[in-house]
């Protein structure tokens, strides 16, 4: 028996799951930072993770590309576990080389950007495609120039990161992450290092990416930003997902009292 919803899903092509976190737990010493977190991000959607500082939201993001090694649980990117392989009946950690390859499916823009200061803008972007995907230098350069064009920095390819403004540096960081043609983009507090008037700029870059079908997972504490870009907002507190839903529902009428309280304190500022 098929319901109307099922038929609709088949007709429109139910979006496949791009990111799936399964029972992710992580403790630092005695402190449980993440406690059996399950999360699903459908392909081509934007999910924003919000929560008070120390709630575990950055750790959650870092678990996705295994910069942080979860104590238990797994992350699947388009069905492929990150940093894990199956040996017979058991799942074990993948060797470093394989983990590195898995990571190329995930682009990450760090809070502090972490551009390579000794490399020019172009070299920053070209490095990974050449080293990891064995792209020819010429191809990688052409692709890098195309990306720089897209973020409006074509004239800055010979500059060093330090010679750029904060907003420009961020766009380079985004271009660098996109150079590997990742399936997912992770953003850690993309607005925190920027002057308030530049927030709109990030917003438009994220929107462009979303329009191009990119799946994104964004950690932020800017509720207005989240409301503007997100298809889904996830509220996390003390290492657990408290509730999640589309922005209108979450901001308008949250189910949980804790969510409402958090949103209220944030909006007062």
């Amino acid at each position: 028996m098929s319901t109307a919803a099922d038929e609709l899903a088949v007709a429109t092509g139910e979006p496949r799951t791009m990111v799936r976190l399964i029972q992710i737990s992580k403790a630092f010493g005695d402190v449980a930072v993440l406690d059996r977190v399950d999360l699903t991000v459908p392909a081509g959607t934007v999910t924003c993770v919000v929560g008070p500082s120390g709630s575990g939201k950055s750790t959650l993001l870092r678990c996705v590309n295994r910069l942080e090694r979860p104590d238990s649980g797994a992350v699947l990117i388009d069905g492929q576990p990150v940093g894990l392989i199956r040996r017979g009946n058991r799942v074990i950690e993948a060797p470093p080389r394989l983990l590195a390859r898995h990571r190329t499916a995930v682009g990450m823009v760090f809070q502090a950007l972490n551009l390579f200061p000794h490399l020019t803008v172009l070299e920053n972007i070209v490095e990974a495609p050449v080293a990891v995907q064995r792209a020819s230098r010429a191809d990688a350069r052409a692709r890098a120039r195309e990306l720089l064009q897209r973020v409006g920095l074509a004239h800055k390819e010979r500059s060093y990161p330090r010679e750029l403004s904060g907003g420009e540096q961020q766009r380079v960081a985004i271009a660098r992450a996109l150079a590997l043609r990742p399936k997912v983009m992770l953003f850690d507090e993309p607005t925190s290092a920027l002057d308030p008037e530049l927030v709109g700029e990030v917003l438009s870059v994220v929107r462009d990416l979303a329009a191009g079908g990119m799946t994104m997972l964004i950690v932020t504490h800017e509720l207005r930003f989240a409301a503007e870009v997100a298809d889904e907002i996830v509220f996390i507190d003390r290492g657990r997902i408290v509730e999640q839903g589309p922005p209108a529902t979450m901001l308008g009428s949250p189910r949980e009292e804790r969510t409402a309280r958090f949103f209220a304190t944030i909006q007062q500022r």
């Binding site: 390579f116 200061p117 990974a128 060093y160």
Partner: protein
């Protein structure tokens, strides 16, 4: 009521940089002392500058110089190559590798270089024969150690091993000076560990490595003079050979000094170029820039 305020604002607009008279006095005093020293050196017949000129490019001296430079180059390159390996071992996740690296540095930093040189020179007393083969199996090569280890070989081994211990700490300090977030960014991009080290971390570490490494190179250049005790025919040994015959001690020591001076100067130039190269993108590319402005004070 507003007049006095306006006056004061005007006088602020005329603000001038502070004068620094003491700086001038100190500078002039320094110049005078330098000049007096130079005059006394040039005028004192005991320095015998004509003898200095005569021996500066003598064959024996140049042969000694060649040995000194060769020893310095081998020990520096070998020492830093081994030192880099030791530093990476020390920073690796393996407790065993860490311990080996630590132990090496501990041992070779503790033994005086002179003692080491004498030890390697006399190694044939401990191991009379050098054999290459499968352990507990057949022997492929068997040679008398005495024939292999001459003064030069002992000097190369001793200086390189000694240098590596110091280089290991210099390189480790450099690697630690690079923020961990750089490694994370490289990992997130899927770069392998060796590639991350070679392309991302080491080039940035070089900024912290070059100045102490240049110090180490200068110390090594002069330090090679200790090999004269095991009949290594270096620069100092060569001039000693000459003044033991003609008793012109001071001018011949000056000959050696001038050569050491020349090559440490060359080293400073190389250091400057390396600092400029590895400082690219750091906002202090021309390292002479900030150094000069430090001397001139922040106000200029």
């Amino acid at each position: 009521m507003s007049t006095p305020t306006a006056l004061r604002v005007d006088s602020y607009a005329d603000a001038r940089p502070a004068r620094r008279p003491l700086r001038w006095v100190a500078g002039v005093a320094g110049l005078v002392v330098l000049l007096l020293t130079l005059v006394s050196m040039a005028g004192n017949p005991a320095f015998e500058w004509d003898v200095v000129g005569q021996y500066l490019t003598a064959d024996v001296v140049l042969d000694g110089l060649r040995v000194t430079l060769l020893l310095t180059a081998i020990a520096l390159i070998g020492g830093f190559a081994l030192g880099t390996v030791l530093a990476v071992m020390r920073l690796s996740g393996s407790r065993l590798l860490q311990a080996i690296s630590w132990g090496y540095t501990w041992l070779f930093r503790s033994v005086p270089i002179l003692v080491q040189l004498l030890f390697w020179y006399n190694i044939s007393l401990v191991y009379p024969r050098l054999t290459v083969g499968v352990p507990f199996g057949p022997t492929i090569l068997d040679l008398p150690t005495r024939g292999l280890i001459n003064g030069f070989a002992a000097a190369v081994i001793g200086l390189t091993l000694h240098e590596a211990a110091h280089a290991a700490e210099i390189v480790r300090a450099g690697l630690l000076s690079v923020e961990r977030s750089q490694t994370e960014a490289a990992q997130a991009l899927g770069l392998s560990r060796p590639r991350t080290l070679w392309r991302i971390v080491l080039p940035q570490a070089m900024r912290a490595i070059v100045p102490p490494a240049a110090n180490q190179a200068a110390a090594l250049l002069k330090g090679t003079s200790v090999v004269s005790v095991i009949a290594g025919q270096d620069l100092l040994f060569s001039v000693q050979l000459i003044y033991n015959r003609n008793y012109l001690v001071i001018p011949l020591l000056l000959v050696a000094t001038l050569w050491y001076l020349f090559f440490t100067t060359l080293l400073s130039v190389v250091q400057y170029l390396l600092e400029r190269f590895f400082g690219r993108g750091s906002g202090r590319a021309g390292s002479a820039g900030p150094r000069l402005s430090l001397l001139a004070g922040e106000d200029r």
